[in-house]
């Protein structure tokens, strides 16, 4: 029997949805310690666990000829404290089944509710009384150097270095590439000095989510973070000058590559939560922000060139960026670049249809509605409201704002943020593709760290 049943009518079209219920925004709570430390909580007692994130909001710093300093300083926080050696500290966290991760801008900690008090104390020790042991510093440095060596073979790392060097103005922190040479310049004292000088409770946030109350948090934070003394941190300003030199093409050879990794990008002024945010985000979604975006439909579903392609328009307080990257088989490298540029230009020149705009609004609204079910997202909204002085109802009105974006807005955003006349095209791949790249502009060859060759 053939597996065709029934001409059941109801199967022929998509069923109508039921009436949508309201989105359920959990309440957030705010508290500030005497030393200025800001605390945000979203309670969620469904599972017996607590998550916390510390964010030290101190602007961006350059490492100069010591690139990698901040990364090492952040990791060193979890390498021993005044109270515990690294091994003792690790042993305790693992015993409680908890996890702590530290970075130069703070870190995260989580555990089952019943061990959270202990895990939180270990976290506070790492932030406030790190020991910066020389032995552990040398070990971290060794690991970083090994990982840098490994990057010579990793196309994504090579592209990352190249894009940093090429799209950000010289001396801006974002243009810095960590190399063997810069890592060798770093000392443990540099790390200690940098972290202690540039950390202060009055520019920091502790963001909690989970099975805990504000009453408990006040005690926990009071016990562990009151001793943190505010200090003035000099926030540095960086040049906003972008490199605007027309279209540049960079190439890094990766012998034997079976695919080209292509990156296209540039830096751009695009602040968080500015007047363009919702429309610009929709515009990027149309181009490459979701599965049925123009780039993915064209290059994956129609041409079969790639497993997938996405584009990102990234906001930033210092300098934003537009980037897209894609892996394709060698012989379609140039054609892929052509198609990406074509899709960007089409969005600048031709109005999108009302239907496509509605589809992308539905996608973005759906993503938003699903994401607010995660309490950590609500906590991060509360954080963003405080940090960027957003209106109390900013996120509650997000769907309304998305809905107002028009066809004209999308074209205007494309013209403002898709700069096909001023972009960097980078290709990491086999030498056989090099000739085909000259069609796009002057090609310069670089090594894996993003230094020009020859």
């Amino acid at each position: 029997m053939k597996r065709t049943i029934t001409d059941e009518e109801f199967r022929k079209k998509q069923p109508d949805p039921q009436i949508a219920g309201p989105i359920n925004f959990r309440p957030d709570q705010f508290f500030q310690l005497d030393n200025g430390l800001k605390i945000i909580l979203v309670e969620n007692h469904k599972l017996p666990r607590v998550n916390v994130q510390l964010y030290i909001d101190r602007g961006v710093f350059a490492d100069g000829d010591k690139a990698g300093l901040q990364e090492l300083a952040g990791q060193l926080l979890s390498c021993g404290t005044v109270r515990d050696s690294k091994y003792e500290w690790d042993r305790k966290i693992d015993y409680y089944g908890g996890s702590i991760h530290t970075t130069s801008i703070g870190g995260t900690a989580s555990s089952l509710t019943r061990y959270f008090k202990q895990v939180f104390q270990l976290f506070a020790d790492a932030i406030l009384t790190p020991a910066f042991p020389l032995e552990e510093f040398n070990n971290l440095k060794r690991q970083l150097l090994s990982n840098l060596a490994a990057q010579k073979s990793e196309p994504e790392s090579i592209l990352g270095n190249l894009i940093k060097r090429r799209i950000y103005p010289g001396r801006h922190p974002y243009s810095e590439v960590i190399t063997e040479k810069t890592v060798r310049n770093i000392t443990v004292d540099d790390c200690r000095e940098w972290f202690l000088t540039n950390s202060s409770p009055d520019n920091s946030y502790l963001i909690f989510e989970g099975d805990i109350t504000m009453e408990d948090i006040k005690i926990l934070v009071g016990d562990n973070f009151s001793s943190w003394i505010p200090r003035s941190v000099t926030t540095l300003e960086w040049p906003e000058d972008m490199k605007r030199n027309g279209v540049n093409v960079s190439f890094v050879e990766r012998p034997g590559a079976v695919q080209s990794l292509i990156g296209i990008g540039y830096s751009i002024n695009y602040l968080p939560y500015n007047a363009d945010t919702d429309a610009a985000n929709l515009m990027n979604s149309v181009l490459g922000g979701y599965f049925s975006s123009r780039l993915n439909l064209n290059l994956r579903e129609n041409k079969g060139y790639t497993y997938g392609i996405y584009s990102r328009l990234t906001n930033d307080e210092s300098i934003g960026s537009f980037t897209t990257s894609v892996s394709v088989r060698n012989d379609v490298t140039a054609d892929t670049i052509l198609e990406i540029v074509k899709e960007m230009n089409t969005l600048r020149d031709v109005d999108i249809s009302v239907e496509e705009l509605q589809q992308v609004k539905n996608v973005i609204s759906g993503n938003f509605s699903r994401s607010v079910e995660n309490p950590m997202i609500i906590a991060k909204f509360a954080f963003a409201r405080h940090k960027f002085n957003l209106p109390e109802d900013y996120f509650k009105n997000q769907l309304i704002r998305i809905n107002k974006v028009s066809v004209d807005d999308i074209r205007l955003m494309a013209q403002k943020y898709l700069l096909t006349d001023n972009m960097h095209i980078a290709v990491i791949g086999s030498r056989e593709v090099l000739n085909s790249l000259t069609a796009f502009g002057q090609v310069t060859e670089f090594d894996f760290e993003g230094n020009p060759i020859g």
């Binding site: 949508a20 690294k86 012998p255 034997g256 994956r300 579903e301 497993y307 996608v363 759906g366």
Partner: protein, 428 residues
């Protein structure tokens, strides 16, 4: 607290056509996850048609009799949902997460996929190219990307775990439209599937809709190929060298172990955690922090329906001698054999396991996948709620015994994964 917080409520039943239904009601958020786990993976393939199960995962987003080509994604996205799928050696899992008022659309989509998906030349041709690029991007062009494939093809000599899930591109090219249609008719049938609805539902309403969309889908009539767990034990260690476009040498050990959640599996899992979960774990502490001969270590069982493997690895510094790395890995196992575990070791493992199980309950989707997996492999969904008990029933000494029984040289494949540059030096 009397209620075990790791236990979740669910109910389950079969439709007349054999489709298994699992419902987990949780009204805390207006979301619903709709998933179908088909009991077909790469181990059901024939040796000259590998990669079919994974290829189907791609193909079954192409459309159906009532869904035009390319519209599957649009329908889900327009309804505010998200979707994806993944394929393993043993099963294929499709899912959508929707705002709960779109439950019926999710059921309609999955019923279309099960009843009459489009399997035609246009879709096959496009997905052939996409899957080839997936293979290049995820495996061939990525440092260490072929570790699982190269280890498994040596660890298994007769069992279908010997070929990779993504399969052979030649087989994908050689297959005809009819091969694909037959695969669909054989495996994508209600009696080979578990439908799981988790989230904000009214149970009676959900049951009614499930019957409406799935009740009249006919049972499949072709026999389902269920391979035997027929891999003979290894006689002695198998050693080899693989050269790759990498900079840091690595040592890979693949030990044969019991199937997922069977027999000594839980003891082996805890043994693996003792070696590599957390910074204080044995391999991390000794190889990375004390001896400083590795940048990364790992040890984890692949969760396989038939007797499987633990994959253990250490990645060295550029100048680390792989033999030194290997001895250090072996010494840690010898130490467990000699001294066993302390009470503190054991309590740590239990705390880490409990944390992991709690975290796995943080999304509807991971609950749905867990419930469906235990049903699919064992026909016993309730095992999902007994996982912590399984781990608690393991004794300290069982973990040492597991090291003795499974982590021995005659039971392993050992690979030195070396930079291409080493090969050239050797030739010169």
């Amino acid at each position: 607290m009397s209620k075990n917080h790791l236990s979740i409520d669910f109910e389950e039943y079969d439709l007349d056509n054999g489709l298994h239904v699992i419902l987990h009601k949780d009204n805390t958020s207006p979301l619903v996850s709709i998933s179908v786990m088909y009991h077909v993976g790469s181990k059901n393939e024939s040796p000259d048609r590998t990669g079919f199960a994974h290829f189907f995962e791609h193909l079954l987003f192409e459309g159906s009799e009532n869904i035009a080509r390319g519209q599957f994604f649009n329908i889900v996205q327009n309804a505010g949902g998200t979707l994806n799928a993944n394929t393993s050696y043993d099963r294929t899992f499709y899912y959508e997460v929707f705002p709960s008022h779109q439950l019926e659309t999710g059921l309609w989509l999955e019923s279309e996929r099960m009843l009459h998906a489009t399997v035609d030349e246009t879709g096959i041709e496009t997905q052939r190219s996409v899957v080839k690029e997936e293979r290049r991007q995820r495996y061939d062009n990525r440092p260490y990307g072929r570790i699982v494939e190269e280890s498994m093809q040596r660890a298994y000599t007769v069992h279908p775990y010997r070929w990779p899930v993504i399969g052979s591109m030649d087989h994908i090219d050689a297959a005809s439209e009819e091969d694909y249609r037959n695969f669909y008719a054989r495996y994508y049938v209600p009696q080979n599937a578990a439908l799981c609805i988790a989230g904000d539902i009214d149970t009676d309403n959900a049951k009614g809709l499930i019957l409406k969309y799935f009740g009249t889908i006919p049972k499949g009539e072709l026999p389902i190929n269920r391979p035997e767990p027929n891999e003979p034990p290894m006689a002695h260690e198998l050693r080899d060298i693989v050269y790759d476009n990498i900079q840091l040498p690595a040592v890979i050990h693949l030990y044969h172990i019991p199937a997922f959640a069977k027999g000594d599996y839980f003891a082996v899992k805890l043994l693996s955690d003792l070696l590599s979960t957390g910074q204080s774990s044995r391999l991390n502490k000794v190889l990375v922090d004390e001896k400083r001969i590795a940048v990364q270590v790992g040890s984890f069982p692949l969760e396989l329906e038939h007797p499987g493997v633990v994959l253990q690895f250490a990645i060295g510094n550029p100048d680390t001698d792989p033999e030194v790395l290997e001895s250090a890995m072996d010494e840690e196992i010898d130490l467990i054999l000699k001294e066993g575990l302390t009470d503190e070791d054991f309590e740590k493992l239990i705390n880490q396991t409990e944390t992991k199980l709690v975290n796995e309950q943080s999304t509807l989707l991971s609950i749905a996948e867990g419930l469906s997996t235990y049903y699919t492999y064992f026909g016993d969904t309730s095992m999902f709620n007994k996982q912590m008990d399984f781990y608690r029933s393991v004794k300290k000494e069982d973990i040492r015994q597991a090291a003795l029984k499974y982590f021995n040289k005659d039971n392993r494949v050992a690979l030195f994964w070396l930079p291409e540059a080493h090969k050239i030096e050797k030739v010169e």
